[in-house]
């Protein structure tokens, strides 16, 4: 399985449920397109639920950073939810864990948007 992205709205927060592999090629470009489209539609509060992400490589990490920068530059917020050990370890090794606002509970994450 490559990547599957489903978007839902919880109040004014856009939640993107990401499942599968975020790797160079189809996976990372699908994530890029989804975030780009949301920024284009002026979504300001985006929560990426990575709970079902089975694999991420440096390209996928790059897409998370790119999404974070693009949403922040448009005046919005992008946060992460439900990191599994693999994704969490990679973000810690690359010192990105503290760059992102990471949550384990969707309710808490939703409330944290200002």
């Amino acid at each position: 399985m490559s990547v599957k992205l489903e978007t839902r709205q919880v109040g004014d927060v856009s939640v993107v449920d990401v499942a599968g592999r975020i790797t160079l090629g189809e996976g990372s470009s699908a994530l890029r397109d989804t975030i780009r489209e949301m920024v284009g539609k002026n979504h300001k509060k985006i929560l990426l639920n990575l709970g079902e992400v089975s694999y991420i490589d440096s390209s996928g990490i790059g897409e998370l950073v790119s999404g974070f920068t693009s949403v922040t530059n448009s005046g919005g917020q992008l946060k992460l939810l439900n990191l599994n050990k693999r994704v969490k370890d990679l973000l810690q090794i690359t010192k990105l864990y503290t760059v992102f606002d990471v949550h384990e509970s969707e309710a808490t994450a939703i409330r944290s948007f200002t």
Binding site: D57, S58, V65
Partner: protein, 146 residues
């Protein structure tokens, strides 16, 4: 497999096209050898990602997806030493002067983390330029890390 049992030595070599499908194939082959060698799941993940990142470098940055250039993959395990060699036919890159992806000014760069992850996940990493053109990356993992 018991931790102290000694798996049979194994070697494989493939010449792969410069495509992203080859990246998946190389990872699958390399992880297969590591699995038969008795590496734990955590190490299999690290080996898989290191091979993937090295293959991406070879296919994308080395051979630049050229149909005329191959990537040579060789995997050997002999006792507790597991070695992967990945060689491209590209023009090479300045691997000694890559920006540090952990430097504060580089943290938000969208690329430049591949080789850093390779070095983080393997016990030994060597990169050398090949005479006729190309770059060879050698990745080593010990079944019981040094």
């Amino acid at each position: 497999m018991r931790e102290n049992s000694r798996p049979a030595p194994e070697t494989l070599e493939r010449f792969l096209a410069s495509t992203l499908d080859s990246v998946d194939r190389a990872e699958e082959l390399a992880v297969g050898v590591a699995q038969r060698a008795g590496f734990a799941d955590e190490d299999l993940m690290k080996i898989g990602l290191a091979v993937r990142e090295s293959m991406v470098n070879a296919v994308v940055h080395g051979n630049r997806y050229s149909e005329n250039k191959k990537v040579r993959l060789s995997v050997t395990q002999n006792g507790d030493r597991y070695t992967v060699r990945i060689a491209d036919e590209g023009e090479g890159f300045d691997f000694e002067n890559l920006p540090n992806p952990l430097a504060p000014e580089n943290l938000l760069r969208t690329s430049g983390r591949g080789l850093f992850l390779v070095r983080s996940f393997m016990d030994e990493v060597q990169i050398r330029r090949l005479g006729p053109g190309g770059t060879e990356v050698t990745l080593v993992k010990f079944r019981v890390s040094k």
